[in-house]
Amino acid sequence: MRRQSLKVLATVAALAAIMMLGACHKKTAPAPPPPPPPAPSPTASISVSPDTIDKGQSATLTWQTSNATDVSIDGIGAVQPSGSQQVSPADSATYHLVAKGAGGTQEATARLTVTQPPAPAAATTSPTDEDLFGQTVKDIYFDYDKSDIRTDQQAAVQADAQFLTQHSNISFTIEGHCDERGSTEYNLALGDQRASSVKNALAAVGISASRIKTISYGKEKPFCMESNESCWQQNRRGHFVYQK
C-alpha cells in the first residue's frame, strides 16, 4: 500500500518535471518592460432621489465610491467615501462628485431639478439681479453637430433677450457645450460656434455685444454624464452664466 502510493508519487513527480521542461521549451519572448503596477481605479456613483422637487422641498443625495482616498462634492466639500445627505437647494443644482485615489480620479454627477413656484406673489425680500438672471434666463439647446439656433429655441432666445434688455446693467458669459460623442478638438470649435450663435442672436435684437463674453467647453464640462440621448441633449447647449 505504502509502496504503491510512493510509486504514484514518483510518477506524478516525473510527470510534473516533464511538464515543466515542456513549459520551459515553450517559453516565449518576455513581455515589454512592465508598466508600474496599476493601482485600482476608483469608482464613483452619485444619485439624487427624487430628481425633481418643488422649491423648498428636500431630496436625498446618495453616493458610493471605492478605492478613493479623497472624495468631495462641489458645493458640499469633502465627504465620506460613501453616504447620503439631505439637500434643499433653491435652484436646480448639479452635484459633481470627485473621487481621487492612487489609481486616478473618477467623477460622477447627479442633477437635481428644482421647480420654481409658479408666481412668487409676495416675495419678502426683493430678488437680486443675479437671482432674477438665474430664474429667468434659459439655456439654448442645439441639435447634434449643429450650431444654428433651432426653431423650437427661438422663443427662449426672445425671452432671454427681453429680460436682458430690461436689465441692461447685467453682463454675462455664454458657455458653449457639446455632448461626449465626437472628438475633443472639433467639439471645442463647435462649442465656440454655439456660444457665438447665441451671442449673435442676442446682438441681432439689440443686446450690446460688449456685455457678452463667450467661452467654449466642448465636451470638457458636461452637465450630465450618461450615454443616452436625453443626457446628450442636456449637454448640447449654450449656457448662461451671470458675470459678477
Binding site: 520551459c24 521549451h25 515553450k26 517559453k27 516565449t28 519572448a29 518576455p30 513581455a31 515589454p32 518592460p33 508598466p35 508600474p36 496599476p38 493601482a39 481605479s41 470627485v98 481621487k100 489609481g103 486616478g104 480620479t105 453637430d145 450650431s147 465626437g182 472628438s183 475633443t184 478638438e185 472639433y186 471645442l188 470649435a189 463647435l190 465656440d192 460656434q193 457665438s196 467661452i215 467654449s216 470638457e220
Partner: protein
Amino acid sequence: MDDTDRRAQRHADIVAKLLGVLILLSLSFLPSASFAQDWVRTGSGLGVEKVRLAVPDFKPSNSDPQNTALLKTFNDTFWSDLDNSGVVELVSKSFYPLQVPGQPAEITFPAWNSPPPNAAMLAFGNLAVAGGKVTVQGWLYDVKNTASPQVLGKQYTDVPTIDAARVIAHKFADEIIFRLGGGIPGIAESTIYFVSDRTGHKEIWAMDYDGSNQRQLTHQGSISLSPRISPDGSRLAFSSLTKSGWDILMYSMDLNRPVSFPRLGGTNLSPAWSPDGSKLALSSSRAGHSEIYVCDASGGNLHRMTTGKGPDVSPTWNRKTGAQIAFVSGSTGLPQVYTMEADGTNQQRMTDQGYAVSPNWSPNGQFLTLAWIRKYGPGEPGSSDIYLMDIASKQWVQLTHDGGRNDFPSWSPDGRHIVFQSSRSGKEEIWEMLADGSKLHQLTFTGRNSQPNWSWK
C-alpha cells in the same frame, strides 16, 4: 444579401485597396493571431522574410551586486525595443544553446547559424558596474558570415542607475534597427507627449516611447490639451483654458517652464508645427468662426488660411515637404478631412462620408492617418477607428477593429508605428501599434490619457 456576404464583399474591396496602398509602406507582414475575427489583417512585404535575430540575455562581466538589477532592466528593454521595431524577427529564446556568449571569443557559430535557432544575426554582450560606472559592451554579428562576422561593436558607459541601463538599451537597439531596417533610425529614444487627468486636471505629460518614465510637464491647474512638440524637440505648443479663454501656450523643454506666446483672441486650439519648425498652424475663432491660421513660431505674422463658415480645426503639415496642410472642417455638416496648399489655396476634400477628424501626416509625406466613423447616423452603429489614407489616390485602409472609441493617431518618427488614444479598455488610454495595425499594446494605465503626439526624432 446577409451580413456575412456583405462582409465578404467588403473584405475583397479592402484587400484590393490594401494591396494598392500598403505596397508602398516598407512594413513587414505579421501573421494575425488565430482567434476568430471578421476582418482580414494584411500588409505589404507579403512573403518577405525578415532578418532572424537572436538576442541572448547580456551577461555580467564581473560580480558586482548591482549587475543583476541593471541587467534585468537592460535585457527586458533591449528585447522589447527590438521586438516592437517591426523590422526583425526575434528568434525564440527556447531555441538558444545553453552556453550564450558575453563576448566574441565565446561564440560557437554552428550553435546559432543552423537550426533550431537558424539565426542570421546575433546581438550579444555584457554589462558590469565598476568604479561607480556601468559599462555595457554590445556586438551585432552576422553569424552566417563566419569569416568576417562583426557588423557592429559598441561600448557605453554611464552612471549605474536603472534609468541609464534603459537608455543604453534604447541606444544600442536603435543602432541595430538602423542597420537592419534599411537605414531608417530607430525610435527607441523617442518621446510621446500626451494629456493626462491623473492629477485631477488635464495636464501635458511626456513618456518614453515604450510607456516608461512618465512625467508631468505642465501645472496649469485648468484644462490643457493638444500637445505638439517642435521638430527639434525644444518647444511644446499646446492649448489651455486661461482667464481670457482658450490660448495657445508654449513650453520650453530646455528651460522646463512656460515661455511667452501672444494671446490671439477668441478660442485658439490645436497648434501644429511646420517641419522646419519656423511656423505654426492653428485654429482660431478670433474673427468669429473657427478657422485655420498660420503664424511664425513666435506667434507673429498671423495669416488666415480658411474662410468657410463651419468650424475648422486640427491642422497637420505635410511632414516631408511642409508645402501642404491637412485639417478638419465642418463646413458641409459632419466634420471631414481636407488638404490645402500651405498658403490656403487648392482645398481638396479627402474623406467621402461619416465623421472624420484628427489627421496626422506621415513622415514620408505619402499618407494621412485619421480617426473616422465611416458609418454614421441613426441605425448605423459606427465606431471611431484609426484609418490610413494614401493621399494621392484617397484609398484607405482601416487599422483598428477591436472596439472602443479610437482617436488622435500620431506617427512615429520612422513611419512604422502609430500611437493613438482608445477607450477599448473601458477608459481613454494611450495605445501603440505598427502602421499595419499589428503589435497593438497599451502604454498608459493611470487615470485617463489622451491626445498622444510622437516626437519628430
